[in-house]
Amino acid sequence: MHDGPILQVENLRIEIPTRHRTLVAVDDVSFELARGEVLGVVGESGAGKSLTGAAIIGLLRPPGRIAGGRIWIDGKRVDNLSQAEMRKVRGRIAGAIFQDPMTSLNPLFTVGQQLVETIRTHLDMSRAEARARALSLLAEVGIPAPEQRLDQYPHQFSGGMRQRVVIALALCANPKLIIADEPTTALDVSIQAQIIALLKRLCHEHGTAVVLVTHDMGVIAETADRVAVMYTGRIAELGPVAEVVRAPRHPYTAGLMASIPAIGETRDRLYQIDGSMPRLTNIPQGCPFNPRCPAVFDRCRRERPETVDLGGHRVACWKHGEQEA
């Protein structure tokens, strides 16, 4: 039994080879996650947040590949494991929840078949015991009348109910870590809050750590202990959620925060960051954010900023780098 952090990612680099060149989709990403902690990973689409999540559980889609760095789950190095060895980690130690509950479940098997199958893969249980556990899991994720629901097919469930089933499936073997990739994006707004609350409560009860990938800063503010803000495949800022929300250190995070209206606030216009995130094929020299940054200066256009640790709060920005230097 290892009692260090449940997840360590060190200098992770993900490349996607294309016909003309190799794109660096994630570069130099490092972070740790304590047991039971919830880390929010936020960023625009294409920022590399989902790829990072996929890399952790070894499900990067080819031709994407881990080109550098190391990953430990529960003290075990996993980035160099074979698929067969990684399979023993997945589900049991680390699970995952994906964006779209409509497509995450196999349409040709009942919910019960999929639950029992997953439980029996990981736990030494008879069919009857596994079925009993499946029932209690369904009840735990708040599905009414689980007895009847167990033998129904996924298409007979609504979107929110399906995502509850997906969560139950991820929790089958009580993993210590869950990668939740945009778990509420595909759902109705009214259901999103319920699912987030459920996820938060279950992980708290089971002591499960969560990497919550989303583009919704509101969800993160509500759920996460710490937050990592990603931009063009790199971590721009990482720190405790309260600090990052209240006093963002990176101009990009500041822009993100300013674009969220606070409750009770009335503004004529929401703030927006000029321009859009560059494509991976033409990331500008220096700091990738420099063309859009309101606080840009010369050095930002020349050199890529180093990550600076400001006491548990990391920022990759020359504004802070200079203070240290």
Binding site: G91, T103, L105, P107, L108
Partner: protein, 323 residues
């Protein structure tokens, strides 16, 4: 569900009536049955009498209805070539074609599906690439040439297997089977391999492309994320989802197999319906041609109906949609 099946059955009957019309048109407008029966030297009176007896002067629809009525009872008249009832000849020839086709389909599925699964799961491995290359050769070889090459190799050079015929057959009631004697089994090997090769490669390519698609779906990814074994993922989850298109294609391929049986039977002098049909085409034996057409269409329609019903068994989404 029941409504769906009834509508499909009605559709099938529609198709059969259309095919019947073509067969009837063959009967009526191609060749002259009076000429065929009396010969060119018969007198005008005799001809007129026979025309009336045969009902050839009745209105078109009446004749068509009579044709359908007879066809439903299996009465297609006499073969010009054999001067025997067509239905008797068809019944004699049916077992040979049925056994050949079924063995070929069985071979095609038995070999094609596992190869397709493998090539779909490991698309980059050298074995998959080999399968793909071989399959391209498979679809490029004309069936008759495959048959010839196999005959040369196994019957003429190696002398392991007979080059033509069905071998010894055993009668089970009216059904003659070649599957119960050693020489019959040896005889069916080459023709059934020949017949199945093309379909085998098609099935393999289809299963592969379906597999490739399904392996990329979210539910397979989620199954992997749950740590299910590769066996469960590929052979339980993915395979069941590839089944729907495989069933369709296999159904369609059954039709194809019956059509290609014509060629295989000619190459191997296999005494089945296909050989009968080719002989009828060359001889101008219209009743046999019409009966073959109706019979083969009936098979196609029945297979399509069966395939539609199988969908319900496989896909629960359809089931609940119709109950």
């Amino acid at each position: 569900m029941i409504r769906f099946i009834i509508s499909r059955i009605l559709q099938s009957i529609g198709v059969m009536l259309a095919v019947g019309l073509i067969a009837f048109a063959l009967f009526t407008y191609v060749g002259d049955p009076v000429n065929n029966m009396l010969g060119p030297s018969a007198s005008t009176d005799d001809r007129a009498r026979l025309r009336t007896e045969l009902g050839l002067d009745d209105p078109f629809l009446v004749q068509y209805a009579r044709f359908i009525g007879r066809a439903v009872q299996g009465d297609f008249g006499l073969s010009y070539q054999y001067a025997r009832p067509v239905i008797d000849i068809v019944a004699e020839r049916l077992p040979a074609t049925a056994e050949l086709s079924l063995v070929a389909v069985f071979l095609a599925l038995l070999v094609g599906i596992p190869m397709g699964i493998y090539a779909g799961i490991r698309p980059r491995s050298w074995l998959s690439k080999l399968f793909m290359s071989v399959s391209l050769i498979g679809v490029s070889l004309p069936t008759f040439f495959t048959g010839i090459v196999l005959i040369v190799l196994f019957a003429i050079v190696l002398r392991w297997l007979p080059p033509f015929g069905r071998g010894d057959v055993v009668m089970l009631g009216w059904w003659s089977t070649g599957l119960l004697s050693w020489s019959g089994l040896k005889s069916i090997l080459l023709p059934s391999v020949t017949l199945s090769l093309f379909q085998m490669t098609l099935i393999m390519r289809l299963v592969r492309s379906e597999m490739l698609e399904i392996v990329r779906t979210d539910y397979i990814r989620f199954a992997q994320a749950r740590g299910l074994t590769s066996r469960a993922i590929y052979f339980r989850h993915a395979l069941k989802n590839t089944l729907v298109p495989v069933i369709t294609i296999t159904g369609l391929q059954m039709g194809s197999i019956i059509a290609f049986a014509v060629i295989t039977e000619t190459v191997f002098q296999w005494p089945g319906l296909g050989l009968l049909f080719i002989q009828a085409l060359n001889f101008g034996d219209i009743p046999v041609m019409a009966a073959y057409l109706v019979f083969v269409s009936l098979m196609f329609v029945a297979i399509n109906l069966f395939v539609d019903i199988l969908y319900f068994v496989v896909d629960p989404r359809l089931r609940s949609g119709w109950t």
